[in-house]
């Protein structure tokens, strides 16, 4: 459904392919630190482009554009960047594996409870959005509250801890089950 009228005036918008791994245009992947993964992605998703960008000619043309000295430096830099990216990824994974999501049932008043969920942000979730979801799901008030320690947690009104446990597992399977924890807590009257 190309609009012929606009095409006559000027070339239409170009569609640019972006790498699925590092989000740059594929020709810039080599500078991103995840070059290896990017190449695999491109081969899988855009074989024609892969052939053009990673052919022997292109590579040698790239190489000859630089002096030997500059090449060495660039190579070293790229290696460093790759190592850094890999290390960062590993650290991230480790942190995620350790991060525990805690569901607390806090007594607000006799027989009245609020449910507090903390630790979701460690798994890369947007607290505000999850809180909104929870409010909709349980038809109660649900908000992001600040903890005295400086962090943030989600407070859902009412005792929904059991349902919440199941819902989290279902909706966010990326959180390992072992990392979900439930706890009862009685609020001290101060």
């Amino acid at each position: 459904m190309a609009d012929t009228a606009t095409e006559l005036v000027a070339p239409a918008a170009r569609q640019v392919v972006y790498c699925g791994v590092c989000s740059l245009p594929p020709e810039y992947c080599e500078f991103g630190g995840t070059a290896k993964k990017c190449e695999e992605w491109l081969q899988k998703n855009h074989p024609d482009m892969h052939q053009r960008l990673y052919s022997a000619e292109t590579l040698s043309a790239n190489m000859s554009a630089l002096s030997v000295d500059a090449q060495k430096r660039a190579e070293k830099d790229a290696a460093k960047k790759t190592a850094k990216a890999a290390a960062a990824e590993q650290r991230e994974a480790e942190r995620k594996a350790e991060a525990i999501v805690l569901i607390k049932r806090v007594e607000r008043n006799k027989r009245k409870y609020v449910t507090v969920v903390s630790g979701l942000e460690e798994h890369g979730l947007d607290l505000k959005k999850v809180a909104k979801e929870l409010g909709k799901k349980f038809a109660t008030g649900s908000s992001v509250t600040k903890t005295p320690a400086g962090g943030e947690e989600i407070t859902v009104q009412g005792d929904v801890s059991d349902d919440l446990y199941d819902w989290l597992q279902e909706k966010y399977p990326e959180i390992p089950e072992d990392n979900l924890d439930m706890k009862d807590e009685v609020k001290k009257k101060g």
Partner: protein, 181 residues
């Protein structure tokens, strides 16, 4: 300018009169966008303004960032827009050796443009300090950076030294990686 990753601030709708102003300003700065403006920023669309750190405002249409602006500086297009309409912007070219520095957020220095792999416009098309230019790269098709020049192209040819662009938007920076919603 966007070296660090950041999160978007408050999002608000742009008044239609202001939106007309933005549209006019964009066309004034980039007259070559004229045939495409209807595609980029249709007349009957609701533009959003997202506040970014350091007094930068980002104009967003349907969760697609279009332009950003630092206070009342010239409006600069997002690189995705530049990729779509590369011919509408004044383009310089850097040599291959400079790419990795640009992509890691360093200021663009004049030698990257004046060396054998770089391209600067001829004298009659020179770009002056403050002009927004797109930066292409040797051996690459796509533009890798955009920003205001700090030094005119003629001056660069003469001196071959110093900073060419220091506050630009480049591939893989915070603005590029910014996720809206």
């Amino acid at each position: 300018m966007f070296k660090k990753d950041f999160t978007a601030g408050a999002k608000s709708k742009v008044k239609s009169s202001v939106q007309r102003g933005i549209r006019a300003k964009v066309l004034e700065t980039y007259p070559d966008l004229e045939p495409h403006i209807e595609e980029i920023l249709p007349k009957k669309s609701q533009l959003d303004l997202v506040k970014l750190p350091d007094r930068v405002s980002l104009y967003v249409l349907d969760d697609q960032p279009l332009f950003y602006q630092h206070m009342d500086d010239p409006i600069v297009p997002h690189l995705k827009i530049v990729h779509q309409y590369p011919h509408a912007f004044k383009t310089l070219r850097i040599d291959r050796g400079a790419i990795r520095f640009v992509l890691s957020g360093a200021a663009l220095m004049a030698p990257g443009l004046t060396s054998a792999g770089g391209r600067l416009p001829d004298k009659d098309e020179e770009a002056k300090p403050g002009d927004i230019v797109a930066i292409a790269a040797e051996g690459k098709e796509e533009v890798c950076m955009i920003g205001p020049l700090e030094m005119g192209t003629e001056e660069m040819k003469e001196k071959k030294k110093g900073v060419a662009i220091s506050a630009g938007h480049y591939l893989g920076d915070g603005l590029w990686k910014l996720e809206l919603n």
